[in-house]
Symmetry: D2
Subunit: 421 residues, 4 copies
Amino acid sequence: MTSTAPAAGHALRERYDAVRGATERFCEPLEVEDYVVQAMPDASPVKWHLAHVSWFFETLVLREYLDGYTSIDDRYHFLFNSYYNSLGEQFSRPHRGLITRPTVADVQAYRRHVDEHMRELFRRHEELGLAIPADVIEVGLHHEQQHQELMVTDVKSLLALNPLRPAYRAASAAPSGEAPAVEWVGTDEGVRSIGHDGRGFAYDNEGPRHKVFVHAFELASRPVTCGEYLAFMEAGGYQTPEWWLSNGWTTVQERGWSAPEYWEKRDGRWQVFTLAGMRPVDPAEPVCHVSLYEADAYARWAGARLPTEAEWEVVAAEAPVEGTFVESERYHPAPATGSGMQQLFGDVWEWTMSAYGPYPGYRPPEGALGEYNAKFMSSQNVLRGGSCATSQSHIRPSYRNFFYPPDRWQFMGVRLARDAG
Amino acid sequence: MTSTAPAAGHALRERYDAVRGATERFCEPLEVEDYVVQAMPDASPVKWHLAHVSWFFETLVLREYLDGYTSIDDRYHFLFNSYYNSLGEQFSRPHRGLITRPTVADVQAYRRHVDEHMRELFRRHEELGLAIPADVIEVGLHHEQQHQELMVTDVKSLLALNPLRPAYRAASAAPSGEAPAVEWVGTDEGVRSIGHDGRGFAYDNEGPRHKVFVHAFELASRPVTCGEYLAFMEAGGYQTPEWWLSNGWTTVQERGWSAPEYWEKRDGRWQVFTLAGMRPVDPAEPVCHVSLYEADAYARWAGARLPTEAEWEVVAAEAPVEGTFVESERYHPAPATGSGMQQLFGDVWEWTMSAYGPYPGYRPPEGALGEYNAKFMSSQNVLRGGSCATSQSHIRPSYRNFFYPPDRWQFMGVRLARDAG
Amino acid sequence: MTSTAPAAGHALRERYDAVRGATERFCEPLEVEDYVVQAMPDASPVKWHLAHVSWFFETLVLREYLDGYTSIDDRYHFLFNSYYNSLGEQFSRPHRGLITRPTVADVQAYRRHVDEHMRELFRRHEELGLAIPADVIEVGLHHEQQHQELMVTDVKSLLALNPLRPAYRAASAAPSGEAPAVEWVGTDEGVRSIGHDGRGFAYDNEGPRHKVFVHAFELASRPVTCGEYLAFMEAGGYQTPEWWLSNGWTTVQERGWSAPEYWEKRDGRWQVFTLAGMRPVDPAEPVCHVSLYEADAYARWAGARLPTEAEWEVVAAEAPVEGTFVESERYHPAPATGSGMQQLFGDVWEWTMSAYGPYPGYRPPEGALGEYNAKFMSSQNVLRGGSCATSQSHIRPSYRNFFYPPDRWQFMGVRLARDAG
Amino acid sequence: MTSTAPAAGHALRERYDAVRGATERFCEPLEVEDYVVQAMPDASPVKWHLAHVSWFFETLVLREYLDGYTSIDDRYHFLFNSYYNSLGEQFSRPHRGLITRPTVADVQAYRRHVDEHMRELFRRHEELGLAIPADVIEVGLHHEQQHQELMVTDVKSLLALNPLRPAYRAASAAPSGEAPAVEWVGTDEGVRSIGHDGRGFAYDNEGPRHKVFVHAFELASRPVTCGEYLAFMEAGGYQTPEWWLSNGWTTVQERGWSAPEYWEKRDGRWQVFTLAGMRPVDPAEPVCHVSLYEADAYARWAGARLPTEAEWEVVAAEAPVEGTFVESERYHPAPATGSGMQQLFGDVWEWTMSAYGPYPGYRPPEGALGEYNAKFMSSQNVLRGGSCATSQSHIRPSYRNFFYPPDRWQFMGVRLARDAG
């Protein structure tokens, strides 16, 4: 844990205020009731997210570095720990939605309490030159940005369960048009390096930067669209076991899937639930809320495959970080426009065929932050590039997101790859 | 469905206002968050209770009898139907806690909308002499009183799940003292009549009044106390299969029961969660929150048995309707005092060994109200006498409550009986 | 426990040989494989039944009364105890089908070992005048007859799961014809006595004989037929919640029931699986393999109700014990013929609306036999009269069988009743 | 699909006889009852294995290549298909143990029927020069060898469930001694080639041979022993979440694991169930029947990690295929002896950290054999090297076995690796 000079501390404080403010801005359209309920065990109540991200700063920064700090309520240490075994017992995750007290107002007071003391910490640093754990604070801010994305997707899952299908907020006018044709962009075989190069922030799981042998391949210039996915559905995609992984086919049968999450057929037409309410499926948009199994089956049907994470990163390392991010407040992917490689960043997370695991030479950090990423390196797949619910300041080419193959509630989409030559 | 004269209508309106007001008074100490969550599938959110009892008046009274009535939102008809198949589909019961909209404020507005129109109905009756369905309104008020009791027990189950064990409201000073010794009050064998005699309100399941042969028996003068139940526990009650019904023993094993619901051992002493928070178990109080299985096992251990509902009613028909009711705002049973037959009414519901079924000659009413009681006549046991969460104006000797043998979240207790002679 | 004179002992020995022999005769058509598997947790493997009924004689007779008796394998005491907690731990019931050793041959040797020693006990009694526990042996024989019936129904459930639908044994020629019209036979109201009168064998749960007030009623002269039940099905019986108990409707939905157990629609016609294989449903036969819920829904649809067990017994006490029993080796109910009250005994067990509970003044026997019936007096309903899988020497008017409302794998049918006057 | 010259056909026929004979030899100690039961959904009854491997030859060889072939029973095509969707519907896998007919004798007749016709096919080939699908037959023989291994492990899982813990067969005298100290054998970084090189038989999933960048690493010279694993257990291995993957820790909690599968503590000493019955744990033997989670937690505790499959193969490609195989009829791993790299083959399958997926450029075969391996490339991990239940003629350096992380019923063990330099 290192400290920084006052000038850097000043920038950090501004970033702290910006990130914390963004969290609260997202909540503004919510009713108190919306903060409390947990749509499913994978999701968490908004109230819990709000408290947990403050718990992170309290536990890893204030309790360690701010002399004389006392919590607003010591029981929050247990209630709002997510999964850090090294920091003590945790309240049962699937029951987070059963806790009505502390109330939303209590949690907002908790946030203010933490904010005030974080600002005191910054002040002491800037005015008195006391050291601050800049790297832990940086992790805390990226952590909060991750939870911002989860708040978007968890609120969506909650409102979608309501038979009234209420909107989070009215939609801005949707872009229209037709998606450009797919181009296949090739890369030659060879030993390449992937992983974070040490410039700027990265999570521990993005390193060490290391060599990997990449075989010649081609990557599609944009994600698969709803129109293309509809063609798969109409070709019997959800009825034909030959296109599916065995686990995928079992999942389709058990859960009765016949379309992406949030799609509903009404009067013979496919509609989709968005944070702006129900509306017709737009064939030009990237398909999203599909599982790894659906992404993989689509790819097999289309005569292609999913990329590996190394293939994706080799291409993305050259691309600008542009696309539809959470800052757009669109909360839904937008159709691609123009030509050449597009939408690698933003819009939809792109499933890769790579299982999530440690890079060669990887060692988790000491202490609680060692639990941040390492212990999840089993049975999940890597997704790359961020989505329309990700902050632009949070994503980068080496960023590794990870979810279980059947998961669909994130903004997950599909970009195809194929062997070259 | 009959109507009443304006004078009776006036009394009915006053009763309407009183019952509706009592519902709202109970809610006053609650936070918005507390209205939304469902602690378990058997329970419902307070918000749902508030809406459903208004739905009852809207559906069975206003839509039928108030010319020109329109609902505040037609979708509520589906959302707030509990189990009336003849009135259409219902929203999934175990998912009632996932619905954040309509909000609590919306539901309060819905209640006001219904109240205004009910008052308009009363006005037209009193001023214009238009007929009103007095008996349906009477059912609606008793229905709301039943839900008031469920609100008490459902809020209790919700707050008890919270690791902070928050109180609904601070306790009034608790009565103290020692329970009087049990007396055994005998009744001779013979043909008796039980069931409602037609004077005053009763549910359909309380009739017809009919003959039954009752064998000579004795009934305990008061319910089993916590002190007596502790003796059973200390004698290995929860570890000895011989005292248990087979289903009961299986339930004890599967759920890991070792004490009544809401009891917790802390530092070697038994504490109990009440709506006023945690406090030590009082040996003088009636034991409550026990299942039929526990009541039955206790009785067997004590060399006695549970009464039949006929035995109970034969004795209770002679007794005054006195005890601790919801009007006391105690929300917890009180120790018995004095001598002779006590606490038949109020304090704790008393499990009987009688399965809940139709009386000889019973026919359910026509229409939706035929679903009120009849279809539940399977696999449940009858409880008698009301509890500390029951309104005194709602209970009577012929009243038949019914729950499943493993249920514990109501204020359920034990009164012993034994064969005479 | 009393003993009998040698003459009675002689008759008992002959009965012992007859009952034990009947068990083995039933097994003759089975393959070794058929003895081992358990179709569902409610059922047991034939091998287990064969061993358990011998365990009963070994444990309650030989170990207690035959000096110097030693078991063939002491571990069988644990393996083949069904549910007698007072006799020690039991092997997990749902896993009985996972035990391949002891083999079928081992269990047959165990039976022979017990038989040889039981005959030695009889010999010592007859030749030496030593006392024998005649009443326990009598219970053991009735116990074995109960398991004979379970073997029939458990083998049926097993073969029915096999997609090849193998027959237990080829059918004898089936009777044909048309069922006689139903007559309604009336009984006046009054105080009656039911329960076993002490002449001949009875289980503890059939007593004490006691008074009960019976209201005037009428009983149908024969069970409901398949043809009548088909009319209910064609009238939307399985699609109309109004005819069902609430638990029944839930069960219909959860289990996807649309016909009695073992019925299958093939090429538009209803077939039924019998122990002689698949064949068309015969409209004249009593419907069987229906749950209490289906029996109750049928009755409601037909404008009638199920009888109480007192009503049934009052009528049956006057009737001869005639019908289709296991001795016919038909293993399926036969159509009624003739006129007047018919088929009260044999053919199909008749669901009653009475919950299974203790009669007034009932006390379970001391010791292990106290667990035989008493601890099951919860959440089950009484069935009366025996079935085509019951031995004629095992049934009587006061006999109380009991199963859970959703159970269907026994030969369970429906006789209607209705209020008179 | 190619054919071979008669000489090769002759060798193939001899191999056919050898493999088929080995299957039957394994069954000799079994009772009929042991063939029928399925210990758990992952396992299959021996009877099913016996039939399924014959079904494979019938379906993919005889029906396609032997003119005039007819099956002994056409319904077996459905009953004994495992998972080939392209060959039609399959009988439910978890219910394989409920099918008592066809009997064991029927299945043995089915095997003989298939064998006779396979020999007729070989005869026509050798005598008449007709083509045979040598490569499909070769797959069929390896397929049968895989099922031989499953029969060993499935019989073990079945006998272990029996409270009598019966042995499959008495043990031969066990080797004794102490395991040699671990040596760490290093390999330099660089681009290597792995995957099958086309010489001899291999499954499709072992190719294509391809380049991979391997970082410098060290591999332990022998698997982890029971003694070493006991030290982990005594250090609180099963009580310390920090050493576990998150999914692993959840699994430990949910399943209550505190030792490898088949270990039982009796009178304070660890015993292990083997196919020769219960005996004390031998500290010198390789630990086996551990999940990936346990292997990974052990490695983390020991300051090491699991190897990747590429690392393992780079080393194993240089090693002789020696170790304890099924031909030893030991059915249990043996202690290592001597020095240098040992037991890469046989004894225990070695978990790798590599998720099972397609090699670069992999394409599944056309037709039913395309379902053999490809569709399982999700959520499983690769194991390498074979076990004491694997045939020596079935294993090779490029062989990829795969199981789910929590699986334990195969002979799965642990070899450690670590980063070099």
